[in-house]
């Protein structure tokens, strides 16, 4: 013992203390040296590396990993995956994450610079967030490379509003359709009205064609004591409350979210006309909407429609479509579709949502990933998928061909689609703070629903949104 303490050098306590400090240093140093900060380096586009004649077997033996959410689109394609493997020799591993957590998972994975999934499902608005940091592969060079893309692919067959909705140059004020092609539209949905035709017929009434008539109709249909209300639409604290029925009708009434003034966006949600419409929308929710409107998401709306509680639902056609399939809901077979109220000038501006397929820029198997995207968004696979619950197809040829044959039991669906599709596009101004400013918009509507003065609340919201979009 004594001899130890007399040894030159450190005592055991000193060494332990030093080890502790070294541990702390090991913790601090990489942190302070920015280890783990940032999404990693930008990855070069892989399209130019593909040369020679096009060959479906070019990536034979590889495995492509895809991240998806359990959606009718994914479910319709799942049985077809083996056909892709037979065609290309590429194995597909599909990881499913429920929709509620899907974008959290995807955001985290992409932000971490992980290339563990080669292909992922995404929506158009997400491109505005994932594109600027370089997390997504620009697919335009792939489409234009005849060595990578089959002659039969026919990209132009995809509806124009969809092709432009997934393309942007990320510059404030630039319209959609400029810049790279960041995803390929796979399935899409128009936000229109689905109604309980059986009930309407029993009372001898028809869907409303104007906004004033629509409000009155929804109120007339409401009888809380009978568990029946006029119209279901979303109201939860989320950007997703704004993008279906709300922004569709707002646009039809002449509203826009921002206008460009020089190089700055000016918020337009607090003009007199915009405030009047939003006040009416919230009053409609209070008088003829779901009783717990501020928690309502699309499954709640379509559930109430399917159960016969909601007489109308202003949401995605593809969300209401499955409720009319035999056995899918209490009101299956009783539902029908209508474009919803036209604008004062008769316009049918409609906001669309597209589930698209995108390639992870950090993927190590880009050619295999592109072959999968090309196959899944191609005519043949999509024609087969629409025989399941895949609605709506993004290709005109598939809609006019295989899909129309499935619509016999869906009154008004085809007419509605054809009425709105020419004016269906992303009605939002693209901007990189979309999720924050659009969730703030939903919060403002909830506050008005809770009793805040619409005029004051929307002016305050518009001011804060304008600051955010122009800083970003």
């Amino acid at each position: 013992m004594t001899s130890h303490s007399q040894q030159p050098g450190w005592s055991r306590r000193d060494v332990l203390k030093a080890a502790g400090l070294a541990g702390l240093g090991a913790t601090l140093l990489p942190g302070l040296a920015a280890c783990g900060v940032g999404g990693g380096e930008r990855h070069p586009n892989g399209a130019s590396a593909v040369t020679g004649p096009f060959d479906w077997k070019a990536a034979k033996g590889q495995t492509v990993r895809i991240l998806q959410t359990p959606h009718p689109y994914q479910q319709s394609f799942q049985p077809l995956l083996k056909e892709f493997t037979e065609l290309t020799g590429i194995e597909v591993v599909a990881d499913l994450v429920p929709e509620g957590a899907y974008f959290t998972k995807l955001n985290t994975e992409l932000a971490g610079g992980s290339g563990s999934h080669d292909v992922f499902m995404t929506g158009a608005y997400f491109i505005w967030q994932y594109g600027p940091p370089g997390w997504m592969e620009d697919l335009k060079p792939w489409i234009e490379n005849s060595a990578a893309t089959s002659d039969e692919y026919d990209f132009e067959d995809i509806y124009e509003g969809l092709r432009t909705s997934t393309s942007w140059d990320f510059k404030v004020g630039s319209p959609l359709g400029s810049g790279g092609q960041w995803a390929i539209p796979w399935g899409f949905e128009n936000n229109v009205v689905c109604y309980n035709k059986a009930y309407f017929d029993s009372r001898g009434i028809k869907p409303a064609d104007t906004w004033e008539d629509f409000q009155q109709l929804a109120r007339d249909l409401t009888d809380r004591s009978a568990g029946r209300y006029g119209v279901a639409f979303r109201g939860s604290k989320s950007w997703a409350t704004i993008h279906p029925g709300f922004i569709t009708q707002y646009s039809r009434m002449g509203g826009v979210d921002y206008r460009l003034d020089g190089d700055q966006l000016v918020a337009e949600m607090a003009t007199d006309d915009a405030i009047r419409f939003q006040r009416e929308w919230v009053e409609l929710a209070r008088d003829a909407g779901p009783a717990s409107w501020t928690t309502y998401e699309y499954p709640d709306c379509t559930r109430d429609l399917g159960n016969g509680n909601a007489m109308m639902c202003y949401d995605a056609d593809s969300a209401t479509y499955p409720k009319n399939k035999p056995g899918a809901s209490k009101e299956a077979g009783n539902l029908a579709w209508h474009p919803g109220p036209a604008g004062p000038d008769g316009n049918y501006k409609t906001n669309l949502w597209t589930w698209s397929l995108a390639m992870n820029a950090a993927s190590q198997r880009k050619q295999a990933a592109w072959l999968f995207i090309q196959w899944a968004t191609g005519k043949e696979a999509m024609s087969k998928a629409v025989r399941g619950a895949f609605a709506d197809p993004t290709r005109k040829s598939v809609f006019d061909g295989a899909f129309k044959q499935t619509l016999g039991e869906f009154p008004g669906y085809l007419d509605t689609f054809e009425r709105v599709v020419g004016e269906s596009k992303i009605q939002f101004t693209p901007q990189t703070s979309f999720f924050q400013t659009t969730q703030d918009w939903a919060v403002a509507l909830q506050d008005i629903y809770g009793g805040d003065d619409a005029d004051k609340r929307l002016r305050s919201y518009a001011k804060s949104a304008e600051a955010k979009v122009n800083v970003a």
Partner: protein
């Protein structure tokens, strides 16, 4: 000496004594034993320090090559009315939920302490809410709260009363939290009550003390350390409330239930402003740290008092 030591191992092994460890290994042993602890400390500190570091950067999805902005995020967050709303919501939720769960939990524990058949069954049933994940509990209660078809409005004849409206959402969230966690307090306190010595209670009975007097002057002071442990657990947990509230209201309507955790989640994950989210979390950590230090000191005092070391 040296010769004795060299021959010792063989002798010791024959005697059944442990084998002798070489000097070098004996010196290294403390460091090897300390290694797991050091690794655990690094494992805990690394994310913490990285999070603190993020809070002084301008790191967002749109800016993946950040630089140090020092306290700009703190200035921005502390001057944002939404942050202070979140502080108020978090504080109200934590204080009211903890108080409610403590009062109910102690009451239930006292009732269960009186042995009976019903008490025995109730004791087993009591633990059920704790076995349900808060996300699932939130989903179940969200359906029960639904004014259209929820069971609560139907049973209590509340018409279209909206449990998750702007005025009611926070209180409804507290109610659900109490449903899940009151059994936790009850079980913890019940275990404490059952470990108390019997003699002082027998003595007070002999002296003819009333039930209330015995409870107030004897049982409550002796139970106090157990109650405080439950309070510390619940209060710390309530300050970090997220899953249950997020499922019920996502922090709405408006900002009515936006706790600090939900604010941090929105900034970090939904809006991908990682630095601002980290700032929220760091400020929350300071709040939790200070509160924990205070409550632990109160617990120490209560323990000393219960042991008769302090008046």
């Amino acid at each position: 000496m040296s010769a004795t030591m060299t021959s010792a191992p063989a002798t010791n092994q024959r005697d059944g004594a442990p084998p002798r460890v070489p000097e070098r290994r004996r010196q290294l042993r403390p460091y090897i034993l300390a290694l797991p602890a050091v690794l655990v400390v690094i494992g805990i500190l690394y994310p913490f320090v990285l999070g603190a570091y993020y809070s002084i950067l301008n790191y967002t999805a749109a800016n993946p090559d950040p630089h140090v902005v020092w306290f700009a995020n703190y200035r921005s967050v502390l001057s944002d009315p939404q942050f202070w709303t979140s502080v108020r919501v978090t504080a109200v939720f934590a204080v009211v939920a903890t108080a409610l769960e403590t009062v109910l939990g102690v009451g239930i524990a006292l009732l269960l302490n009186r042995a009976s058949k019903i008490g025995g069954i109730f004791e087993k049933v009591l633990i059920l809410p704790l076995m349900i994940a808060p996300v699932i509990a939130g989903t179940i209660w969200k359906l029960m709260f639904n004014p259209q078809f929820g069971v609560l409005n139907h049973v209590f004849g509340l018409g279209t009363f909206d449990w998750l409206s702007k005025d009611a959402a926070l209180w409804s969230s507290i109610l659900v939290d109490a449903w899940i966690y009151t059994p936790f307090v009850a079980i913890l306190v019940l275990a404490g009550i059952r470990s108390l010595p019997k003699e002082p209670f027998e003595a007070s009975q002999v002296d003819g003390a009333s039930w209330f007097y015995t409870f107030r002057r004897l049982q409550l002071p002796m139970m106090w350390p157990y109650i405080l442990v439950a309070v510390i657990f619940r209060f710390m947990d309530c300050l970090k409330a997220f899953d249950l509230i997020y499922v019920l209201t996502a922090g709405g309507p408006g900002l009515a239930t936006r706790t600090l955790q939900i604010g941090a989640y929105e900034d970090s994950i939904t809006f991908q402003n990682f630095s601002r989210g980290s700032t929220y979390m760091f400020l929350l950590w300071i709040l939790v740290f200070i509160t924990a230090r205070y409550l632990v000191s109160v617990l120490g005092k209560a323990q000393r008092r219960a042991a008769g070391a302090e008046d």
